[in-house]
Amino acid sequence: MKTLVFGAAVVALVHITPTVILVKRQDAVAHLLPGADQFAARELHLSSADSKELHDAVGWEPPDGVVTFYVGKHQDQTTGALIFMRVDCQHGPLELAIGFGPEGTIRGVEVTKATVEMKPWVLEALRAGLTDSYRGLANDQAPAGAAKVKPQIGAMPGYMAELIDKGVMHANAAYRLFYR
């Protein structure tokens, strides 16, 4: 009986909390692709060699081999691109929206989803100005937002900032290597 109770307690403790929307995807698109009134989904089904190249670059590759960029256009002129990126950790998934300007630098980053448990940590990191440091970042530069905000925030918000850095790094590498 003790084992059963212990088992049930462990199950309850390790259960990942539900996902919450921090920013609606449509709002993220409006913020990160301003002025665009036409959109296209550019799907890249990566070859093994390209997946390996991406993995060698940043230690990550899309689990199903597909990277999707959403391209924004106005009067047939590209105004930028956006990618949704998921970052997993033991507390659950985070979803980021990373927008690129037409010149290839980062226009902005939004955290669109987190879990109930992670939400206050993420919000603390965002309030400390985490995403400000990504604006204008070239696609061959490593994001360093976490290092900037860590002195002002707690340990778990700092960990969230590291995860967001990681997601931005993955998006940057995908853009640099494959966005044409």
Binding site: I16, F39, A41, E43, H45, D64
Partner: protein, 181 residues
């Protein structure tokens, strides 16, 4: 029979009734959630757990060279998340849900032990209760790794779960509150 639910203390019958009611409610919401995120047809389940963004049975292997496709989308389409369970999420789901399913199957099995039914029927019900989650997750993994055709195994697991619960709940409620020889 290890114990007899029919003649058990009122508190035990009350506990079992509330447990069954709570599990039944969570099962109803579970079915609702399945309808929202995966669907009840083999095609829908295969789309959810099979290779992402690809027609079932196609492009399970990476292409020789990277293939780029582009299609117009509306703002609304970008806002809609295509719910797809990739390998990482399936690992997480299996890790989180299998222990919970085991606890639920164990609870229902303990109730089944108190039912006035033949020994062989008890064995079958317990087997069904534990087979259901195994079928459910085996189907998801086989759909992911082998073929979208295995989505039918996940459907079978879901229906087996509902059937196991329905049998135990119906017999327990009937025997505890109506049939009292």
């Amino acid at each position: 029979m290890l114990y007899d639910l029919r003649h058990s203390d009122l508190r035990v019958r009350w506990l079992v009734t509330l447990l069954l009611a709570t599990l039944g409610t969570s099962y109803l919401f579970g079915a609702w959630m399945v309808g929202l995120y995966a669907g009840f047809s083999a095609t829908k389940v295969a789309e959810t757990y099979g290779p992402a963004g690809e027609a079932p049975m196609a492009m399970q292997m990476p292409p020789d060279t990277t293939i780029v496709t582009e299609r117009p989308v509306s703002m609304a389409e970008m806002g809609e998340e295509q719910h797809h369970v990739d390998m990482n999420l399936l690992v997480q789901d299996t890790h989180v849900h299998m222990p919970m399913y085991a606890v639920i199957a164990a609870c229902l099995s303990v109730i089944a032990l108190g039912l006035a039914i033949p020994r062989w029927a008890g064995l079958w019900i317990i087997a069904l209760l534990f087979a259901a989650p195994w079928l459910d997750f085996a189907g998801m993994w086989l759909t992911k790794l082998v073929s979208p055709g295995f989505a039918i195994v996940t459907l079978a697991g879901g229906w087996a779960m509902a059937l196991g619960y329905a049998i135990v709940a119906a017999l327990a409620i009937y025997q505890m509150w109506w049939r009292k020889p």
